[in-house]
């Protein structure tokens, strides 16, 4: 459960996030949709405790992200933008490293890695060093790393970036499974089709503020557009930056 209220983050004169409020519930997939530079990543970075907000509150499972940083970090799994993994470690070692940082060890950790390798279809490269991995393989490792401690809340920043169609389909399947297992999934994207296909709730962000939010149906009704794409464009006010 993620609750964001009137969040603000300025970088000098740039208002990256300027009063964002929304909530993401357990067992639901919530999408942050908006053009590049709208403030999606900054919002996520505040949620996963990398940035401190200038104003407003962000709660994850009722814990304030600026106060209970370590507890918040324990309860979230994060796929950051770019998904950097360690090239000289094997896929398994990459995942194990983060598992150990979450206090896991031994057989519990090994079994969990096997489970994730199975889930994400990683068995043919799990023992290989990550140097030379394709973007899809890297993203899988980063995703497995984010999920290793079975976090209640999953935050994904542009997870389908650089993935081919097959990998994207696989990722969607994983996100659906997380939803049915009762996780709270929050992901950002600038791809409308992706958000429309997956999300129970959509939060449209433009220029650092929430332009519209609700279920896909609600958005269509609110804007008076039958087509979801037109609804997005109307909510944002321009077609710029969307795919």
């Amino acid at each position: 459960m993620i609750e964001v209220s009137n969040l603000r983050k300025y970088f000098g004169s740039v208002k990256a996030v300027d009063g964002v409020s929304f909530s993401a519930h357990d067992g639901k997939i919530t999408g942050l949709l908006g053009p590049n530079g709208a403030g999606k990543s900054t919002t996520l970075r505040i949620l996963y405790t990398a940035f401190r907000p200038d104003a407003g509150t962000a709660l994850i499972d009722k814990l304030d992200v600026t106060v209970d940083k370590l507890a918040v970090r324990s309860s979230i799994g994060v796929l950051t933008h770019g998904a950097g993994i360690y090239e000289r470690l094997t896929a398994r070692e990459n995942i194990r490293y983060f598992g150990e940082l979450h206090g896991m060890s031994g057989k519990e950790l090994s079994l969990r890695i096997d489970e994730l390798a199975e889930l994400l279809d990683m068995s043919d490269f799990i023992g290989r060093r990550a140097k030379g991995f394709s973007q899809g393989q890297k993203t899988k490792v980063a995703l497995a790393r984010a999920l290793v401690h079975n976090p209640k809340n999953v935050l994904l920043d542009e997870p389908t970036n650089g993935l081919d169609i097959m990998a994207t389909r696989g990722l969607r399947e994983v996100i659906q499974r997380l939803k049915s297992a009762g996780h709270c999934v929050l992901f950002s994207s600038h791809v409308m089709q992706e958000v429309a296909a997956l999300c129970d709730e959509i939060v449209i962000i433009a220029n650092g503020t929430v332009a519209a939010s609700g279920s896909p149906e609600a958005l269509r009704n609110d804007t008076g557009e039958q087509n979801l794409e037109d609804a997005f464009v109307k909510a944002i006010g321009s077609e710029e930056g969307l795919i």
């Binding site: 950097g84 470690l89 150990e100 940082l101 979450h102 980063a142």
Partner: protein
Amino acid sequence: MHTRKISHLSSLWTILRKEVVDNARDRRTLTTMAVSIVIFPLLIFGLLWFLDKTVKEETDLVNSEALKLPVVGSEHAPNLMNWLGQNNIEVVDAPLDPEASIARGEHRVILLISRDYPEAFSKGTTAPLRLIHDSSITGLEKIGFNTVQGAIRNYGSQIGSMRLLSRGISPEVASPIRINISDIATPQARSGQFLTMMPYLMIMFIMVGGMYLAVDTTAGEREKGSLEPLLTQPVKRHIVLLAKLGATVVFSALTFLLVLTGLGLGLEYMPVDLISISVGAGKIATIFVACLPFVFAGCALMVLVASFTKSYKEAQSYLGMVMMVPTLPLMSLAFLSPEPAMSNMWVPALSQGMIIIETLKGETISFDLIALSMICSTVLAAALAWVAVKLYQRERILG
């Protein structure tokens, strides 16, 4: 979906271990270490071998072969010519333009005897001689000049003594003081002169050994995009930084130990007669332990600098300059050759330099001074680490 209790210590250990494994697989790190154990001794012993050879040649030159000395006007001083002959200096014909000949490098030294010489000599006044040489020539070539000068001086003082005796005066009157020189330097200490450059090289290797890790674990990790995921793990940022510093120290210390071992083995097995130093396990252990606080300080300095650079390249170019910083205090070793004292042993790098030299020489430094050096360097290391931690807390660390 439960939160586990994670101790800071186990997080620190996890990160440190990962960095060590990760970087042990890095070819650059391994190359640095290989170089430290192979190239370092080769460098040192190449130099020592050369010095050794030079000194031997010098001795041979003086002892056996006669030195050829061109003399202008040798007919004016037949006695002096005899004396020179007895001193293994062979008088030869001089070129037409002696000064130009010296300038061109055809001869190193030429003696000029003027027409006034015989008259002045027989009158008992001071007879002038002129010795032409080029003082910018150093090393082996200088020997000829010194030998000739020495021989003529001896001749002069003998003649002087004889003149005094013939006037019934004891020659001792004219030499009120005689200096008897006793050199108490042990052979090891004398060799130590050649080892003055050791501190430079060792401190450089301490820095180089940790450099790749300092860059890779901070600026490198940010550039690869793995820093942000790492910082979203339930670990305090200062633990992350201290673990990375720890890994840097591990590699830096290991490189240092390899260099010391290479030096010890080299001195044991290399055929260099001049250097009669042996570096056993005891000396290696003393130097290693006494210099460990500096290893910490050097690594903290590099991690600190690498923390606020934006890219791998930037970090590398900054660190190239930072590596020179600890060698600055060492300059005074070459110019002043200070002795360890309370007034200088607090200076990081310099104090370690003196510990290295004195220990290699086989001399002992009082425990107080070593403790002073270790404490001051530890304080510096802690201060640098503290600043690095502060920098690491900033949001800008994520770039």
